[in-house]
Amino acid sequence: MESKLNNLNIDGTEYLTEIPKGSLKSYEGMPDLSEVRAFIPGSIVDILVSEGDRVKPGDILLLLEAMKMHNEICPGISGIVSKLHVSKGDTVKKDQLLVEISGL
């Protein structure tokens, strides 16, 4: 099994070695709590807030139906609903942006 060798820096030393695909993943950053995203694909069955509403963790923003369950989608921070990106009946993909909250 001959494969390409590349440099891998460990503690300041460059080693010539094989680097298997996916073994050096880059960091995607901490999740942005002002963005509420779909944790699962599904459809929006109800929206319980309007833009401008003041919300806090525990409040229900909308209901996302997936796997035959109505999932209550709540904000991760307190703030004002600054933008609703979906409407009732929309189908959404995993990680799709649903609601933006601007912190207080």
């Binding site: 460990i10 300041g12 080693y15 680097i19």
Partner: protein, 511 residues
């Protein structure tokens, strides 16, 4: 009934049972490139005519959903005992030709019966999985069956070796019996393991993925690490399985069988690793230069390739080898390498197999990904496994033994019984470059010629620590040897510890 009549009646019943799911189902099985369950046991696994079948006449007693009209030969699983290279084993093989090999109460009871017998007879258990999953008509009885199998897999763990061969679908809860066993074999284009199949994934996540991509043999052997051995055909899988068994004792109260000593094909010389420490080499070539007949059976050949583990013999005695692989990721330790080595070490400790650890590692793989994947938690398993092991633990430092990875790779400090180094060994907190950069950070920055100053300090650190003598002075290394002396040195070390204590110590929890 006259005796002859009863014999004829018996023969007719027997012949019907032995046909499994019948000609059409068997033809379907063959079209998929698969052997029948009976062929797998009788022809591929066991010594000729050694199979002693049990429970061929077991039938289910389900009445719902028209099941009372169906007689399932052997209830879809063949169980019994036999010999592999003259050593007894217990075996079960699910028969896909009978109701898709689905697992119901009677089917599961046959399996648990042979598992209990393996435990009582202190012999290895080999399971051949080829099943569509739970027999839905039986409801909770089927789930009960799986649970009772998992329970026994766990209770037998570390007492008798348990090996699973996945020769067909093995989906949903069914995957957990193999996952609890010591070794899992998969075969290209035949094996499939997953918790939720492609259809469910498509419905829930909208992802299109084939069965092969999701949980085929290549995936299980190279991405997930669920499978320890990958084969291109069923025949090859059983050949490797028999070889694996040859290295193992029948149970935790025995030592592995001892074979005649055979010299390596290409014994190690004195110049076996590159002069430049930054250059890669394949550690497997060195292993083959040390062990009997250059014969090394690698476990997890395709997964976490930055560490190499497997079985070999030294002076005819089985040893388990754990070696950093500089060829891949410079031989760093990471999450997967730690899990792979730790579980292998614990298997060897369970079954009285001495360990030989071969060290050439620059440390741990840096990165957010590794930290967030829990390299602290996973790395700790390696420390635990080595510290816990009471089999003879022999260590060879080939070159780099840096920092925490030096400690983790069976150092004296974790209870190694014998530690040796080649003259090329470098035991230090880190490589000379990194060390000089840290110790002389300010001086380098303030120097008239920072690069020249840095190089001077790197050389100084290298001069001081890039050798095995500092550690040898403290007694952390027992001997320093030329690489050509490796084999005979370890043969001597192994014979010193020949009468090490054996017996059941612990199970082999999946790590």
């Amino acid at each position: 009934m006259s005796i002859m009549k009863s014999v004829n009646d018996f023969l007719a019943r027997l012949s019907s049972k032995l046909k499994g799911g019948g000609e059409i189902a068997i033809e379907k099985q063959r079209k998929k490139g698969k052997h029948t369950a009976r062929e797998r046991i009788d022809e591929l696994l066991l010594d000729p005519d050694s199979f002693l079948e049990t429970d061929l006449f077991v039938e289910h007693s389900v009445k719902d959903f028209g099941m009372d009209q169906k007689v399932l030969a052997g209830d879809g699983v063949i169980t019994g005992f036999g010999k592999v290279n003259k050593k007894s084993v217990a075996v079960f093989a699910q028969d896909f030709t009978v109701a898709g090999g689905s697992l119901g109460r009677a089917h599961a009871k046959k399996i648990t019966k042979v598992m209990d017998a393996a435990g009582e007879a202190h012999i290895p258990l080999i399971g051949i999985n080829d099943s569509g999953g739970a027999r839905i008509q039986e409801g909770v009885e089927s789930l009960c069956g799986y649970g009772e199998i998992f329970y026994r897999n766990t209770r037998l763990s570390g007492i008798v070796p348990q090996i699973s061969v996945i020769l067909g679908p093995c989906a949903g809860g069914a995957v957990y019996s193999p996952a609890l066993t010591d070794f899992v074999f998969v075969v290209n284009k035949i094996s499939n393991m997953f918790i939720t199949g492609p259809q469910v994934i498509k419905t829930v996540l909208g992802e299109e993925v084939t069965q092969e991509e999701l949980g085929g043999a290549i995936t299980q052997a190279s991405i997930t690490g669920n499978a320890h051995f990958y084969a291109e055909s069923e025949v090859d899988a059983f050949t490797t399985l028999k070889k694996l068994l040859s290295f193992l004792p029948a149970n935790s109260n025995e030592k592995p069988p001892v074979y005649r000593t055979v010299l390596p094909v290409n014994p190690l010389g004195d110049d076996v690793i590159p002069d430049d420490r930054k250059k890669a080499y394949c550690v497997k070539e060195l292993i083959r230069g040390i062990v009997d007949a250059s014969d090394f059976l690698e476990v997890h050949e395709r997964w976490a390739r930055n560490i190499v583990v497997g079985f070999a013999r030294l002076d005819g005695k089985t040893i388990g080898i754990v070696a950093n692989q500089p060829r891949v990721l410079a031989g760093v330790l990471d999450v997967n390498a730690s899990d792979k080595a730790a579980r292998f070490i614990r298997f060897c400790d369970s079954f009285n197999i001495p360990l030989l650890t071969m060290v050439d590692t620059p440390g741990y793989l840096p990165g957010t990904d590794q930290e967030h994947a829990g390299v602290i938690r996973h790395g700790a398993k390696l420390l635990y496994a080595y510290s816990e092991a009471t089999v003879p633990k022999m260590t060879l430092i080939m070159r780099k033994a840096y920092g925490g990875a030096y400690i983790a790779m069976c150092s004296r400090h974790l209870g190694a019984t014998f530690v040796t180094s080649w003259p090329s060994g470098e035991i230090a907190v880190m490589g000379p470059e990194g060390a000089a950069n840290i110790i002389y950070r300010r001086e380098i920055a303030e120097a008239d010629d920072p690069e020249a100053f840095r190089k001077k300090k790197v050389d100084e650190y290298e001069e001081k620590f890039s050798n095995p003598y500092v550690a040898a002075k403290k007694g952390y290394i027992d001997t320093i040897i030329k690489s050509s002396m490796t084999r005979e040195t370890f043969i001597k070390a192994l014979s010193v510890t020949d009468s090490f204590e054996i017996g059941h110590k612990h199970g082999n929890i999946p790590l």
